[in-house]
Each structure stands twice: as C-alpha cells, then as structure tokens.
C-alpha cells in the first residue's frame, strides 16, 4: 500500500499557482471523498489579484478578437480532453466545453453587433463603440459546477475585461482543475485569476475596493442579505453590478453589453458633405 500525495489546493493568480498570503486554509472534501485543505483568499489576496488583473487588462483587450477566440477555443480543446479527469460529471465538462466554443465564436462578432451608427439631425457622424470596462469580479452559482465558472469568466473576458473569479471552498477542487486547464490555454498571465475561499467575506472586501470596475454575480453566488449590501455600496460608488440567472444558457448579447463600456463619438460631417468639388 502506498501513501497518497496530500496537497493544499492553490489559487491561480497572475499565471501562477499560489497559496493565500495569509497562510490560511479551509477544510473541504474531494470528489472522491478525501479530506483536503483549500487556500482561503484573504483581503490582501483579493487586492493583489485585482492589481495583477489591472496590469494584464490592456494587453488582453489589445489582442485581436481572432487571437482571443483562438485562446477560448484552446480552452475548449483542453477541457474536452480532460473530460474523465475533471472532478465533476462528464456532462458538466462537455457543457463547459461547448460554452467555451460558444464564446470563442462571439469574440470577433460581438463588437459589430453591439456598436452602432446613430442617427442625428445635424452635420455630424455619431457612432457608439463598445470597449472593455477593466477589471471584473465574477462569481458563479455554486451549483453550476464547471459550466458556471466558464460562463462567468468567459463572458467578462470576451468583452476585453480581465477577471477575478471567486469560487467557494466546496468547488475548489474543480476550480483548481479549471485553473490547470487555463494555465496551458495560452491565456496571458493575470487576465484571468481564480481565488477560492469564503465568497461572501471576499465580496464584502471587493465592494469596497476602489480599483474594481464591475461585479458579475450569477445565480446564488452570494447570500441574499449580502446582495442588498452590495447594491447599496455599488450605488454609492457608481460601480457596475451585473446580476444574472444561473448558467443553464450562455449570456445573451444584452447581458454582454452590460460587461462593456460604450463610447460615443461625434464627428463633424461638414467636410464630407460640404466638399462639392468631389462630385
């Protein structure tokens, strides 16, 4: 008989697998029924993750839509390959895989769909373009498994944001399996970060962090009481709060639009219409 290799499940921040800076862990049980320790994200872990995400956001958004789509697709390939190794049901892994393919397809189309040329009654050209918001804190519904995590992070990543994904301790084993897939999917370090621990306590810190652009909460990611506090605090600092149902269906474009900023440009059209000599 051999002794199994016990490990503390780590978080994925800045392309690296890290323990909590606090050294704290929370107990959990693996899919095979073994007890394990899970890193518990502290306030400082969150701050560090947001700082790293902020640093990575510009270059992520600056990649071509085609390239981002390729990376999403690569994630789908890896998830599908690992269907039997993931600590969740095969159906969940395949649904997550399909979700990644779904969002991969959207990368080079969503901008065209959500941007517009606006009618104005004067000599201006007026158009609205969508762009990333910045750093998004995303939390899936704990019951949605791998599909929920993939849904929460890819929706925000698709719009050019960088993401801090918060996963509860009970799903940490799955989060680590996802992180291991992310680590080999060509995602540049820092654009997607995965924290594990007590979601409510970390969210309480997140809503008071000044350098976070949006919260994206799906299903019952946080408790109902906390949701009220989040709403109040977000209204106070005018931070975007995107609430969404569970992840049975992928985010429709109307929700994706909420994970983006709209920039409207007015440009004089006098030169274009006034230059009669050209005709």
């Amino acid at each position: 008989m051999r002794t199994t290799v016990e490990k503390t499940l780590k978080m994925y921040v800045g392309g690296k697998f890290i323990r909590s800076e606090s050294g704290r862990v929370l107990p959990a049980t693996s899919a095979k029924g073994r007890p394990m320790n899970v890193a518990a994200a502290s306030r400082k872990d969150l701050r560090d993750a947001i700082q790293i995400a902020r640093g990575a956001q510009k270059s992520w958004a600056g990649r071509s839509a085609y390239n981002r789509g390729q990376i999403f697709y690569r994630l789908a390939e890896i998830l599908e390959d690992r269907v039997d190794a993931m600590p969740t049901s095969g159906a969940d892994v395949l649904a997550a895989t399909d979700r990644a393919v779904h969002f991969a397809g959207w990368t080079d189309k969503i901008t065209a769909l959500l941007s517009s040329l606006n009618p104005v009654a004067h000599t201006y050209v007026n158009y609205s373009m969508i762009g990333p918001m910045g750093v998004v804190f995303a939390a899936p519904d704990p019951a949605d498994g791998l599909t929920g995590m993939v849904e929460a992070m890819l929706g925000a990543l698709l719009m050019g944001n960088s993401v801090v994904l918060m996963v509860p301790t009970a799903s940490a084993e799955l989060a680590v399996a996802l992180s291991e897939a992310l680590a080999v999917s060509d995602f540049p370090g820092g654009c997607i970060n995965v924290l594990t621990g007590d979601v409510d306590s970390v969210v309480k810190v997140a809503i008071r962090h000044d350098d976070l652009d949006a919260l994206y909460l799906l299903g019952d990611a946080v408790s109902a009481d906390l949701l009220e506090e989040i709403g109040t605090e977000n209204a106070r600092v005018m931070r975007r709060l995107v609430l969404a149902p569970r992840s049975a269906r992928p985010a429709p474009p109307s929700r994706l639009a909420k994970l983006a900023e709209v920039k409207t440009v007015w440009m004089s059209s006098a030169l274009m219409s006034g230059g009669g000599a050209a005709y």
């Binding site: 701050r47 902020r54 008071r208 962090h209 000044d210 350098d211």
Partner: protein, 306 residues
C-alpha cells in the same frame, strides 16, 4: 580645500571585502520588520518628504517639468497637509523652467543631473561646464555620474579627480555622486566606489541613474550605508544617501528606512541626509496615506501621472 588622491588610500578602498551572506541576512531581518499604524503613518510621510521627484527622459517638455514641480509642492491637491517632496530632479536644460515654476522662495530644492548623464562618457571640461551651467541656472544640488569605464579599468585617480573637479564647480550646491551600481558588478566594487566618492568630496552617494537595471537593490544600499557609517565613525562627517531606481512601492521604501535607521541611526532620517530618487513611489505613498484615513485603497487611476 580640494582633496588629493592617494594611491595608498585607493588600495585600501579596493581591499574592502563584502560578505554576501551577512549582507543578505541583515537585509532579510530588516525586511521582516512589521511597521503598523502611527509608526507607519509617520514613516510614509517622512518617505514622501524625502523624494527627489524625478523626470529624466528625452521626451521631457517644459510643461512636464512644471507639472512635476506642482506635484512636488503639493503632492495631493485635496490633502494640503501632506509634506512636499525634498526636490525635483531634472536635466540641466530644464533647471530654469523648474526654477521659474517653484519661485524664488522655494522649499522644494532643484536637483540637476550633470556630467554627461547617464553614461558619463564626455570630456572633463564639458562635465565642469555643464555643472557650472546647471548651478548658475539655479540648481541647488548636482547629481553627477562617475566614469564607470575608468573605475572598472582601475583608474581610480581619474574618477577621484573628476569628482573633486565637479565638487569645486558646484560651489554651494550639494553634490550627489551616482555610482551606477548596476554596472559595477560586485558588492566589493560598490564598497570601493562608495569610499572613493566620499573621499573625493561627495555630499551624497547615490546608487543609480535609473537607466540601468538592477538599480537600488537592498544589498547595494546596505553596502553604501556601511561606507557612510565607516566614514562618520572615522571623521565625524555625515554623508547623505540616495537610493534611486526601482523603488516603486511604499513597502520597499519602508524597508529602506528601516535599513537606514538600523545602520546610521535617527540623525539620517531627514530629507537633509536621505533621499529617494523616484517618481512612481510618490503615488503609492499617497495611496497608502489616504488609505489610512479612508479605510480603503484608492485606485491608482485617482492619482496624477507624472
């Protein structure tokens, strides 16, 4: 009185040997110090008041220097109680702009780099002329670079006489001597260059130009502090210290201050004798200071880009 070069003294400086293991042990001890609450607040303010707010880019414009000066005087508009920085540090050509922006009764000093910054590979007469021009234009402090090529080839006399000549050209301006430790290679060399610079007339010794990495690493800073301490114990003369380059966050600034306090003592814990050559450090200090009052960290976006 111009200091004179003595080969025997130079041999002594060159014979200094630094024990890496001891240096690292002392640094790791200093960096484990936890500084909290009131002490942290005081040190943050002190660090802010020790900054030489620096812009040394080819793309520096007069307006950039003016805005740097405004920031030096009032680091954060909504908090006039925060201390001003010790100085602004600019290229000689931009000294008149800084002097005009800061006014005649300025509390913020003007430091100018000189002597063919950053390489130092120009003839001595040009170095002297550049220094004199900078002082005439209103510089209170001159940051000169040593000729690393001469130092590394063993020509200590050339390095020494150049520092002495620049010191003479400085007049009343204080002279900071940049060793550019990132190019010196070993801690032994840093120890030798520190002693050489101090004996040749430096008022301050400074780690780096900021153009070379690594710059102000903890081991290098400790070795330089030890040279200052040795000089003080022998002669009773205080020499200032200025780490520059690579100090970007409040935490490492705190650790540098711990190192000074432990090596040189409280007398050096003033802008008169200790400086940070930095630009982005200021914003992180401001962020930490406002956090002490507001209870949360403000986004780096809320602070001016300088």
């Amino acid at each position: 009185m111009t200091p004179t070069f003595s080969p025997a003294a130079a041999r002594e400086w060159r014979s200094v040997r630094v024990d890496d293991a001891t240096v690292n042990a002392r640094i790791s001890r200093a960096r484990k110090r936890s500084i909290k609450t009131e002490s942290k607040e005081r040190l943050l303010r002190l660090a802010l008041s020790m900054i030489d707010l620096t812009t040394l880019e080819g793309a520096d414009t007069p307006e950039k220097v003016r805005s740097l000066c405004r920031k030096a005087v009032t680091p954060l508009a909504e908090r006039p109680d925060f201390p001003h920085t010790a100085a602004v540090c600019v290229y000689p050509n931009l000294v008149p702009i800084a002097a005009a922006a800061l006014g005649p009764n300025r509390e913020v000093k003007i430091a100018s780099v000189a002597t063919g910054f950053p390489s130092g590979h120009v003839p001595l007469r040009l170095k002297v002329a550049e220094t004199e021009a900078a002082v005439k234009a209103g510089a209170d402090e001159i940051d000169m670079v040593i000729d690393r090529g001469a130092f590394l080839s063993g020509d200590d006399e050339k390095v020494f006489s150049e520092i002495a000549a620049i010191k003479a050209a400085c007049g009343d301006a204080r002279l900071k001597v940049i060793l550019e430790t990132g190019e010196l290679g070993t801690l032994d060399n840093v120890a030798a260059a520190s002693r050489l610079a101090i004996h040749a007339g430096a008022d301050f010794i400074k780690t780096s130009t900021g153009k070379i990495s690594p710059a102000a690493t903890f081991p290098v800073v400790l070795v330089m502090l030890e040279a200052i301490r040795e000089h003080y114990l022998e002669t009773g003369v205080m020499i200032g210290m200025k780490p520059a380059g690579g100090i970007r966050d409040a935490k490492s600034a705190m650790h540098h201050l711990v190192l000074v306090a432990e090596t040189l003592g409280a007398a050096w814990m003033t802008p008169e004798w200790y400086r940070f050559g930095a630009s982005s450090l200021a914003n992180d200090l401001l962020r930490q200071l406002t956090r002490r009052e507001d209870g949360y960290y403000q986004s780096p976006r809320r602070f001016s880009v300088d």
